[in-house]
Structures are given as structure tokens and as C-alpha cells.
């Protein structure tokens, strides 16, 4: 890399954020498609429990919101 360390680290931070966001979107899509947490964990290379712990809340929130509307 020929850029400055500052620029390189900024890119690392931005890519990490992007990866986190892609992960959340992928999990939401998978859940909508009927995947289990065990399957999601397997796909991410972690346990289903770890996947649920790290990525579970958004779904719970969305379901609550849908329940509120009903």
C-alpha cells in the first residue's frame, strides 16, 4: 500500500463497518427465508448460539414492531 497509515486504517475501519452491515442484512434475509440460527451460525463459521447472541436482537425488535401493529 502506498497510502498513508492514516488512510489505510480509515479504509480498514470502513471495510469492517461495511462487513458488519452486510452480515446484518444477510442474517435478516436468511431469517426471512426460514433459516435457523444453527444454519446461520454454520454459514458464518460460528455456533448458532453465538450467531443469535450477536445478531439476534434486530429480528426480535422487528417482530415486536409487527406485533404492535396487529
Amino acid at each position: 500500500m502506498s497510502e498513508s497509515p492514516d488512510q489505510a486504517f480509515a479504509s480498514v475501519v470502513a471495510l469492517r463497518r461495511r462487513a458488519d452491515q452486510l452480515e446484518i442484512e444477510a442474517v435478516e434475509q436468511a431469517l426471512d427465508a426460514g433459516w435457523t440460527w444453527a444454519q446461520i451460525g454454520l454459514a458464518l463459521g460460528i455456533s448458532g448460539q453465538a450467531a443469535h447472541k450477536r445478531l439476534g436482537p434486530p429480528r426480535a425488535r422487528r417482530l415486536n414492531r409487527h406485533a404492535d401493529k396487529e
Binding site: 480509515a10 479504509s11 471495510l15 452491515q21 446484518i24 436482537p57 434486530p58
Partner: protein
């Protein structure tokens, strides 16, 4: 007197941290960092942080936009440009458990509380601005640079208020 100050500090911190998390959510960030702490400082009712940024001609919304721009430019520099994708999606997750500020954000907050304590007054938004402005690297520093705001000028303004 000391108890009154401690109580006021507790209220300020509660508001500051709640808003720091909300700003992280708005920007789609999992971890509340110094840049979110800075945005939150601008929302504090004492108005001192807001006044410093008013003098720089930068609103809270402009600061938030600049943070997003820093990340977008860094992605482009890394060769990842995504036409059609408009920034990060806001997170919708409920925050549970203790607040987990990033280490630089914790350092900025420690510095802010130390400044207020040294002057025997309640912590204010300006103290947080000074604490964040002391961070030499990272997203907050790059954002200030992008906006043409000198970190040393911010520290000076925060301490002179």
C-alpha cells in the same frame, strides 16, 4: 455542593451515553465511538458544545454527514465503490446491557471528566468536545479534518469557554 455536582454529572452522563448509542444506531455502527460521543455532546442541554461548533459554522447534521463521508471516501480509497448504495442502514436493534464505548471514546470521556474535575465544575458538552479533539487519529479526527476544523482550535475553544 459536591453532591449536587455529582447528581448533575450523573444526569449529563446518562443523557450523553443514551445519545451516543442513538447516534451509533443512526450511522449504522455497532460500537459507539468517539465520533458518536462528539455528536451526542452537541445535543447536551448546557449548549456549550453546540456553541463551539456554531462558531465553526458546522451543525450537528453536517457533522453526522461528514462522518458518513469519511467512511465512504475510505471505502472508495480501498477500491470499493458502491454506486446506488446510499450510506449505511440505520440499526434498529435494541441496545441491551452496559454501554460499550470503544477504547478511544472511553479515553475521550476520561479526559473530559478530568478537565471538569480539575476546574471543580459539572461536566459539560465542551469538555467532551475537548476530549474527542485530543484524539489524534481515527474517524473523529478525520471528520474534523474533512470539515476543516482544527483540533487544537477546538480544544482551545472548549477550555476558554
Amino acid at each position: 455542593m459536591r453532591i449536587a455536582r455529582a447528581l448533575r454529572d450523573m444526569r449529563t452522563m446518562k443523557q450523553l451515553f443514551a445519545e451516543t448509542e442513538a447516534e451509533a444506531d443512526r450511522l449504522g455502527d455497532q460500537n459507539p465511538g468517539a465520533e458518536h460521543l462528539l455528536l451526542a455532546a452537541l445535543s447536551l442541554p448546557d449548549g456549550s458544545a453546540q456553541r463551539i461548533f456554531d462558531r465553526e459554522g458546522v451543525s450537528r447534521d453536517a457533522l453526522r454527514d461528514a462522518i458518513a463521508r469519511v467512511h465512504e471516501e475510505a471505502l472508495t480509497a480501498a477500491g470499493l465503490s458502491e454506486p446506488g448504495r446510499s450510506g449505511a442502514q440505520a440499526l434498529e436493534r435494541p441496545r441491551t446491557g452496559a454501554l460499550r464505548l470503544t477504547e478511544p471514546a472511553q479515553a475521550a470521556f476520561r479526559s473530559a471528566t478530568a478537565l471538569a474535575k480539575s476546574e471543580r465544575r459539572p461536566i459539560s458538552g465542551a469538555d467532551v468536545v475537548a476530549g474527542v479533539a485530543e484524539l489524534e487519529h481515527g474517524t473523529a479526527a478525520r471528520t474534523l479534518e474533512l470539515l476543516g476544523i482544527s483540533r487544537s482550535r477546538l480544544i482551545e475553544a472548549a477550555r476558554a469557554r
